[in-house]
Symmetry: C2
Subunit: 191 residues, 2 copies
């Protein structure tokens, strides 16, 4: 891929950027193709030659968010040495996300709310959730939890719950009680 300046993004990149804004803010079902291509400044045929279908565009949009989240989380995790600090770094990254001014909930929860069974959306969701669960499980194991899978599951519940609460209760501070609860559960799981 050629090196481009910020103003010379490829059509595919502009489409993904437009999809990221519109799909996330208003929902993948309520936003039509026409609005995406208008925001991207791209012809409809270009979208279909690049992605093939709206479903695949949605999948690419989710995949992009998954990779971005993974990189941000891993960067935060790698700043610390002890497993316990690394676990808390996951929640710190979450806290930053929930505090962003345009936070509209977990993109994966939202997208899968009305996804048809077997849709490409579900594959992207499974990838994201599998990665996060795996990370939490590994860190829980390294921390010495008696039952790492169970602790990881519990931390995942808190993670999801904070995302839901931040959106539905209009309170970006939901990561704070989640973090405190995570600490309590980690402590309890080390006996």
């Amino acid at each position: 891929m050629a090196v481009r300046s910020a103003e010379q993004l490829s059509a595919r990149e502009r489409l993904l950027a437009a999809a990221n804004e519109l799909f996330y803010e208003e929902g993948v079902n309520t936003v039509g193709i026409d609005r995406v291509i208008e925001r991207a400044g791209v012809a409809k045929a270009t979208l279909y030659s690049a992605f093939g279908s709206k479903d695949e565009l949605i999948r690419a949009y989710l995949e992009q968010r998954y990779q971005a989240r993974r990189e941000r989380t891993m960067r935060a995790v790698e700043k610390f040495e002890t497993p316990r600090e690394r676990l808390m770094a996951v929640f710190d990254t979450l806290s930053e996300s929930l505090s962003q001014p345009n936070y509209h909930g977990c993109a994966f929860v939202n997208a899968s709310a009305e996804a048809r069974p077997g849709s490409p959306i579900e594959r992207a969701v499974d990838g994201y959730r599998g990665w996060l669960r795996g990370l939490l499980t590994q860190l829980a194991r390294e921390a010495g939890a008696a039952d790492p899978e169970r602790l990881a599951w519990q931390l995942h519940l808190l993670y999801d719950g904070a995302s839901v609460s931040a959106r539905m209760d209009h309170d970006p501070g939901a990561a704070f009680p989640a973090r405190l609860a995570a600490e309590a559960l980690i402590s309890a799981a080390l006996d």
Copy 2:
């Protein structure tokens, strides 16, 4: 309202029943008016004279689910005496819900995923969440929690997280780790 046998439901009742099935299973946005009236065996004009708009039908559908959940939960709570048992009864009711064969996630999370801001959907969501938070806070206070609001918030996170996990991870057992985590958090909050 007249007493009716099961086969003589009013048009309004049949519409609500059809909406409950279709909206919950497939999503409020992907299911159109035509499918609702077809399932209800009702004319379109009847729907609009009874509810005025699709948005109001959705609101009524959510209100119905809210009332049903409240009654089921309160019935379970009232079976116990101690605040701690009563808190756990909330999670036991949740566990039953998640284990139902046609569970498709929290109806309120799903409906609000693509709701337009200011839509009637948001009012129904606020009512439901306010009730649940209030119940958890009251029980946490009766249990003697040092910070009842915080404990209630944490339990609410677990409650939401279990709903999300049960759907997204295809695992109806998500209420089990949630219940264990709730017990640990309650114990830790009583110091």
